[in-house]
Amino acid sequence: MNLSVQIGKLTLQNPVMVASGTFGYGVEYAQLLDLNQLGAVVVKGIRLHPVRGNPTPRTAEVTSGMLNAIGLQGPGVDGFIKKYWPFLKKLKVPAIINIWGKTVDEYAEVARRFDALGGVGALELNVSCPNIKEGGAQFGTDVKRLKQVVAACRKITELPLITKLSPNVVSIAPYALAAEEAGSDALAVTNSYPAMAIDIETRKPKLANGTGGLTGPCIKPIAIKLVWEAAKVVKIPIIGMGGIQNAADAIEFMMAGATAVAVGTANFYEPQTTLQVIAGLREFMQQHGLKDVREITGSVQTAK
């Protein structure tokens, strides 16, 4: 039974990774699960400099999901390399670095630094954080600027590039195409959805930032549709995510067109989710007589 998939020139032993920002830098979960069983470990978004992030409260629970406005707190490239890279580089599975910047040049510079580091599995360009003005929405909802970011990083590095798209667009197709044309090796679909919750007793937003990103099972049907739409227009692989809790969810994303999947919010409440998804995927393949996990990708039968 083959579970391995390709993301550009990167081979994953199985299609199940974690979603950036929901798995820290890997080391935090090492006591609870064997990271070497995963397809890849994806780290929290990193920009060139350390970032303090937003004031608290930064997350709030909502129906079948959560809101977050962390504000991309992070140690910066140097801090990351010093503090977390020694652990990550010893893993047997690839580490994918989620990066962002406030300008095209900063994206490129961060890409250059990780290219120079050696041993990085892939770079994921986060152009879709809903909680950051510059660096988030401004690239993710503007086809031209999205292209610039991807092209600038492409020029710098031969590392596989994954462009993480925003769900907050009228149609994801032009963004998917733009990323592909600018040289992205894969797409990550999708980031969190702009949303808000208000505490009616205090009359304050539940997040200090006012608004935040909605994630978890509640957004799955939206994310499935985006993956399906993106898969119709691009040839590069798609990493599907948004509310995955179990193997059935992962398979649904793959049928919609995803080559790999990422587990995000579910890590918080059930850290074993990734391993359960991998086990469930094997079981599904067995039950359905599938020899290669890639047979699942895009296998939904739609009239149109």
Binding site: E28, Q31, L48, H49, T56, P57, S64, M66, F268, Y269
Partner: protein, 273 residues
């Protein structure tokens, strides 16, 4: 840190809206240190997915217990659960209290509401006895007075409405006690943020060390999501952060990992909400 689905051994009302829950966790129980917490997934919850953090109150053989107050959907559902039903637990988590050494500083414990849970385990594990100040709004908020006494601690009770112990805030007898003497004394506190802030100020005023267990909303509980941060002083070293990120000389640290116990003098109260 382990994750386990555990069975409820007992779950009983203490006073009013406070309950004691005992779960069997042979592998986790021996690892627990005072001030650490358990991150609990309330499996019967309907569409609320996140775990809830609770200080560990008592450890006994292969069980541990928590002392919880019903405040929302999670705690209300736990309160209706019965022996034999299951919860998912990740524990022990967090950086706990420095357990006082025999012959070392005299611990002055300050506890409000469910903060008494963490304080009790600390008192129990501390070879050095001291004074525990417990406070609450009403008599029903005073939770384990007898248990502290049974440990041989000097217990000073205050209630805001005077229905039990002295009338007033828990910080009043604390201040009185520190006015008597500060020498060789160290504060440990757990309770509502307002109380912790007051204790932090008292520690500063009287120049006594203090360890505070901070109560921040949590999501992952293990350090990955960066939900639970509080502003902590940092040495203004050669960090490459942009200027506004270094202003004030502090950074956000995680209550679930670097905390929940922080030294009072490290916390930048002006920045907290």
């Amino acid at each position: 840190m382990l994750e386990q689905t555990v069975q409820i051994v007992s779950n009983e009302r203490d006073t009013d809206s406070y309950f004691r829950l005992v779960v069997r966790t042979p592998r986790i129980a021996p690892l627990i240190q005072p001030g650490q917490f358990a991150h609990i997934r309330v499996l019967p919850l309907k569409d609320a997915l996140l775990r809830r953090p609770f200080s560990i109150f008592q450890v006994s053989g292969d069980t541990f217990s928590i002392l919880y107050k019903t405040v929302g959907q999670g705690t209300e559902v736990i309160a209706r659960m019965q022996a034999g039903e299951e919860l998912s637990v990740i524990a022990p988590l967090g950086h706990g209290f420095t357990v006082p050494k025999r012959g070392g500083e005299t611990p002055l414990l300050v506890a409000g509401g469910y903060g008494m849970a963490a304080m009790y385990l600390l008192a129990q594990r501390s070879p050095q006895k001291g004074i525990v100040f417990v406070g609450g709004r009403r008599r029903v908020d005073i939770l384990c007075e007898k248990e502290f006494q049974a440990l041989g601690w000097d217990v000073r009770v205050t209630t805001e409405d005077g229905s039990h112990g002295k009338k007033g805030l828990v910080t009043q007898p604390l201040i009185a006690e520190l006015k008597r003497s500060t020498k060789g004394r160290k504060l440990f506190a757990c309770g509502p943020t307002g109380m912790l802030k007051a204790v932090g100020k008292i520690a500063d005023d009287f120049k006594v060390p203090a360890e505070l267990s901070m109560d921040e909303h949590m999501c992952c509980g293990v350090g990955v999501c960066l939900t639970c941060v509080i502003p902590v002083k940092t040495a203004d070293g050669p960090r490459r952060a942009e200027a506004h990120e270094r202003e004030g000389g502090w950074e956000y640290q995680r209550t679930c990992t670097e905390g929940p116990v922080f030294e009072a003098k490290e916390i930048v109260w002006e920045v907290t909400k």
